[in-house]
Subunit: 346 residues, 2 copies
Amino acid sequence: MKLIILFGGASFEHEISIVSAITVKEKLQNSFELEFVFCDQDHTFYLVPAEKMKSKTFSSGEHKKFQKLQLSHGCFSFTKMFSKGEVFGTILNLIHGADGEDGTIASILDFYGFSFIGPRVDASVFSYDKRYTKMLAKEKGVKYIQYEVLHNKEQKDIELSLPVIIKPVRLGSSIGVSIVKEMDELDYALDVAYEFDSSVIVEPFIEGVKEYNLAGYIANRELHLSIVEEPQKQEFLDFEKKYMDFSRSSHVNQADISDELIAKLQNAFKMIYTDMFEGALIRCDFFVIDDEVYLNEINPIPGSMANYLFDDFAKAIEDLANSLPQKKRAQVKYEYIDSISKAKGK
Amino acid sequence: MKLIILFGGASFEHEISIVSAITVKEKLQNSFELEFVFCDQDHTFYLVPAEKMKSKTFSSGEHKKFQKLQLSHGCFSFTKMFSKGEVFGTILNLIHGADGEDGTIASILDFYGFSFIGPRVDASVFSYDKRYTKMLAKEKGVKYIQYEVLHNKEQKDIELSLPVIIKPVRLGSSIGVSIVKEMDELDYALDVAYEFDSSVIVEPFIEGVKEYNLAGYIANRELHLSIVEEPQKQEFLDFEKKYMDFSRSSHVNQADISDELIAKLQNAFKMIYTDMFEGALIRCDFFVIDDEVYLNEINPIPGSMANYLFDDFAKAIEDLANSLPQKKRAQVKYEYIDSISKAKGK
């Protein structure tokens, strides 16, 4: 089966997308016929030879020597001096953050009629902006941590009591995130977050809160769930640690928790996923407080596709690739124009 | 000033987009240097000569003889035998329904760096799906009519008492909409709606409810509002009537209502528009029940741009065109890859 790994993007998470793509290559190269399409920060697409899938290729700019690609109907295409070529296949959208997770790539792939693994436009919008994720959780009856939103154009005090955690509303991978324990740290933390977004979200920072991650996808109308992981304990992952995290590939063990708690986590995942995330393999990160499950965030394109949470990752991707939703296009028949023209005698 | 009218799309509202474009041409041709780009149902773009802007051009397929265009960075481009050409300008997105209002066109125009009038991807998603519009109203503190959602894969009775109005969740222009007054009409009404969407929304049908429309936009950080219109009274506009409605161009009068009610409608509009619809001229349709304002729907690309609600429509479009938001692109510096390569001694 052919699979095109699409990665890069004009995003603060551009570099971790490269790391993810390299990791996923390792995990899938024995099961798929892989192609690699890199979207650079100027939104130009390049076809990257498999042996050049090293981070240095991109940081050195070597990729600019590779074949440039155009978006065409159902494929990427290129023109050489006397020939034309096309790159066909199901796409695995591995562009983290802006472009990949904000709805842009989903829209483009739908418009050009590609079959693709990744969140659709609605799913992207609701998971990319943390305010909308809260709205979604509320709508679906999944608990979430209370929050406030601040905008850089207005001067406003926070109402939550310290400590709090401050995040740009629209970024993942801990970029621009700070924990504020003393009031005099607040302004600096806000400045850092405003570097990345005009709005920030403030939540209580709960010391030592239990955190559990769970990934899954729907294929053949059935929900397939990964094991539940209790991620490495530390206050929170800063960008550099998370960056290394994106190259994870060793399988982890199921968290040592009760079956009841596992069922609660699985149920919350199902409520979030259903009717919105079809076509994507997502990871939900939850907090557990007093045995209750709270949604922390939705990663609709998790780092290295959360490969380490699945017993048979290649099989998961194959099942999903064989069960992708396609956007239906309306058929235009010009019935109204025709009937109105007739009525006018034209 | 150059303005490119983008219209058509693979949408059930394709034909009314053509009607809208012809109407807007009439209203703007003396104030702008206009170009016309048609997106056909196969997602091919054509450059349409101004004198060919007649509905017959498209229903007859004549447009297929015109110059095909490619999406390029910041422009539409074409290649002729020995020459290349580019069509530059601010875009006015006039594609109603799918493609234009569902986030697809917004994403594509953002990705290619166009400056455009129209809803951005978040605004599109929240106004295109009626379920998300309700969520948005709730979040913003604007009243909305109670509702239920049904899916065609499940058999479920409706809980609301008759009469009800049944609508596909994701379509505008009254397509697939029915009023159900007797229980034996329900199945047929659901079948009609399911022709267009896998989910439908059911709301109480309120006989003789007062309806008011209001359009507006933010330019130079200031909200500009149209007059309030009380639309033509009839049970509801079916598609053919609405179709004709999209060619409206005569200015209407302000509804004969109290200043207090006007202020309430304006306030609800402002709450919906702010922080989501920047870059678009939208029309909100409200119900008024017992002097309270309820959001009915958001039209982020209203028929013929609601030109008939503005005293100086050309000026409104010009102001908006000069005040469009641009999506910021992250600068990629490869700092992490470089520092990690260094640490590894590579």
